[in-house]
């Protein structure tokens, strides 16, 4: 009994120094908004509440799903570097990494659960009648395994005592590998669509993996700044500078990949990919692209990371915040841009409404409310854990 009490006090404690309450309150408010959104969908149906159309069937919720789950696998990648490849600065913050990855993955599941019309049907049909040639089935398999592995990691980190390092390392390695498979396969969920040439090729799977790792670094830099009230102790300096270097490297790779994607989509104007690229550069998604992606996701965080010189943690945290905002646009823009080219000309009788040769999509209030559900789940449960669970570096 005393032993049990000891182990419980080892896990649970009230962390008064951490400014968690505003975030818990904010999370609760977002959850409430999200629940109203869920009720609207249940009462009126997805057709009435969501803004997706016949021509643009995948909208905001697919983007936010990708936003969450890929941040989670990016975190799992960093955790894997720490525990499986013994990168000590990352291993030290292993508890936070695994918990963040777990909660963010759940936040992602709320998005796909509300996006799919029959989520309960999905659960048994993926077992009874899977079509293994469909990338979505592999998405389900990989992310299902990822959730299971993260649960095991949570158990090994928080509950299991004495620690079994070999088992921890093996689980972290598997989580890293499955995470990379899941993320790149998610890129292929888009790449497998015959109708959408902008999605084809190696760009999106690679970009998602790399930007996911950058996202993992960004959220860790940001969260640590919040937890330590912008006064991160020096003992974490190697961790923070390691994260900022990895993040800078990944942003560099994202710039490289994006530049070539855009150039190859413009050169010789390949059918349909060209329209998607111009929708980003000068069309309906231009503000998102230039402000959200180029400035917030790429240039600003990269410049700030360089400015921080691996020492100024506050600037790193700000870079993390900007990147997390910008990364949302990288997901949303790419997914929407690839669907804006209509499948037939918008002539009379075709039932296709086009403006400047493109169909239109704008997320509805209902879709934003479901995004609030995912964000709320993250803020509420993560900061609740920060408040009541011992997550300090080892």
């Amino acid at each position: 009994m005393t032993n049990q009490n000891n182990s419980l006090s080892h896990i649970f404690r009230v962390n008064k120094d951490i400014p968690a309450m505003p975030f818990i309150a904010c999370g609760a408010a977002l959850l409430l908004v999200g629940l109203i959104g869920v009720i609207r969908v249940l009462v009126y149906g997805q057709e009435a509440v969501y803004g997706v159309t016949r021509q643009v069937p995948w909208g905001l919720l697919i983007a936010t799903y990708a936003y969450f789950v890929i941040t989670s696998t990016g975190l799992a990648f960093i955790g894997g570097l720490g525990h499986a490849f013994n990168v000590q600065p990352f291993a030290r913050i292993g508890k936070r990494i695994v918990l963040l990855a777990f909660i963010i993955l759940l936040a992602g599941f709320t998005q796909i659960g509300m996006e799919i019309g029959h989520p309960f049907r999905l659960m048994y049909l993926f077992i009874l009648s899977p079509n293994f040639s469909a990338p979505i089935v592999w998405m389900g398999i990989f992310y299902g395994i990822e959730l299971f592995l993260l649960s095991i990691e949570l158990y090994l980190i928080f509950v299991k005592s004495p620690k079994n390092h070999a088992l921890s390392a093996a689980t972290a390695f598997l989580t890293l590998m499955v995470g990379v498979a899941a993320t790149s396969n998610l890129g292929f969920v888009f790449g497998s669509l015959t109708a959408r040439p902008f999605y084809h090729g190696i760009y999106f799977p690679t970009f998602l993996v790399v930007s996911g790792i950058a996202g993992g670094c960004a959220i860790l830099l940001l969260i640590h700044n919040i937890i330590y009230r912008f006064n991160i102790p020096d003992e974490l300096s190697r961790t923070m500078s390691g994260l900022s270097k990895l993040m800078g490297l990944c942003i560099g790779a994202m710039l490289f990949l994006s530049a070539w994607k855009i150039i190859s989509s413009l050169y010789t104007a390949p059918a349909e990919a060209y329209e998607a690229a111009t929708a980003l550069l000068s069309g309906p998604l231009a503000i998102n692209f230039w402000c959200g992606e180029i400035i917030f996701a790429l240039l600003l965080p990269l410049a700030m990371l360089l400015m921080s010189r691996g020492k100024n943690f506050m600037i790193m945290g700000a870079a993390g915040l900007f990147f997390m905002i910008g990364m949302f646009f990288t997901r949303y823009d790419f997914i929407v841009a690839g669907q804006l080219h209509p499948m037939r000309a918008g002539n009379a009788g075709s039932h296709v409404d086009v403006l400047n040769g493109l169909v239109h999509y704008a997320p509805s209030s209902g879709e934003w409310m479901i995004f609030a559900l995912g964000l709320g789940l993250f803020f509420f449960f993560y900061f609740l854990a920060e408040r009541f669970i011992a997550l300090e570096p080892e």
Partner: protein, 184 residues
């Protein structure tokens, strides 16, 4: 006996744009009302020629019943499947409404159906064909723009038309191998 390979051949030059086929399809298949809710459409192609000698083609279309069907490949539950005759159908009870098939279809032939609470599209009116009747859009057309039949039967109207006349298919570059043929 050879297995049937169903197809539709269109002679669009005959089309009057009367839209009888769209109405017939709606009634035959109880397709719900709504902007996005239709199984077939008749596109008014751009005017051709010079005034006063002008021409305009009306091009009806619907699901192409692709032999290499992108929608079938990406369907995670096998809800979308091809019959032995090559007709692409949907098992509504298996559809999880992931909409991957809608995103994958190069012909924008699919939509979310309020009636079935699943994705819906042209079925080649298989419920009629199995009774020996023609699809509703074929039968109702006052000028017989569409002919429906078996490509494996050399004496069928569709086979004869394709033997005698030049034809084209929509988006051949997508390698979907449609079962819809348009006479030139």
């Amino acid at each position: 006996m050879k297995r049937k390979r169903y197809a539709i051949v269109f002679d669009t030059k005959k089309c009057l744009n009367c839209k009888a086929c769209t109405v017939a399809c709606k009634f035959e298949n109880y397709v719900p009302v709504g902007d996005d809710s239709y199984r077939l459409w008749v596109t008014e192609m751009p005017l051709e020629g010079r005034f006063p000698v002008l021409r305009q083609e009306f091009r009806p279309s619907q699901c192409q019943h692709c032999e290499n069907a992108p929608c079938e490949k990406v369907c995670p539950t096998g809800a979308t499947f091809r019959t032995a005759e090559g007709v692409v159908l949907i098992d509504y009870d298996k559809c999880i409404l992931c909409k991957a098939c809608m995103a994958a279809c190069p012909y924008d032939a699919r939509f979310v159906s309020k009636k079935h609470d699943a994705v819906e599209k042209c079925t080649f009116c298989m419920h009629r064909v199995s009774e020996g009747r023609e699809p509703a859009c074929v039968e109702t057309c006052p000028v017989r723009v569409r002919e429906f039949g078996d490509l494996n039967d050399p004496d069928s109207t569709v086979s004869r038309l394709l033997n005698q006349r030049a034809y084209y298919q929509l988006k051949p570059e997508k390698n979907t191998r449609p079962r819809l043929f348009y006479l030139k």
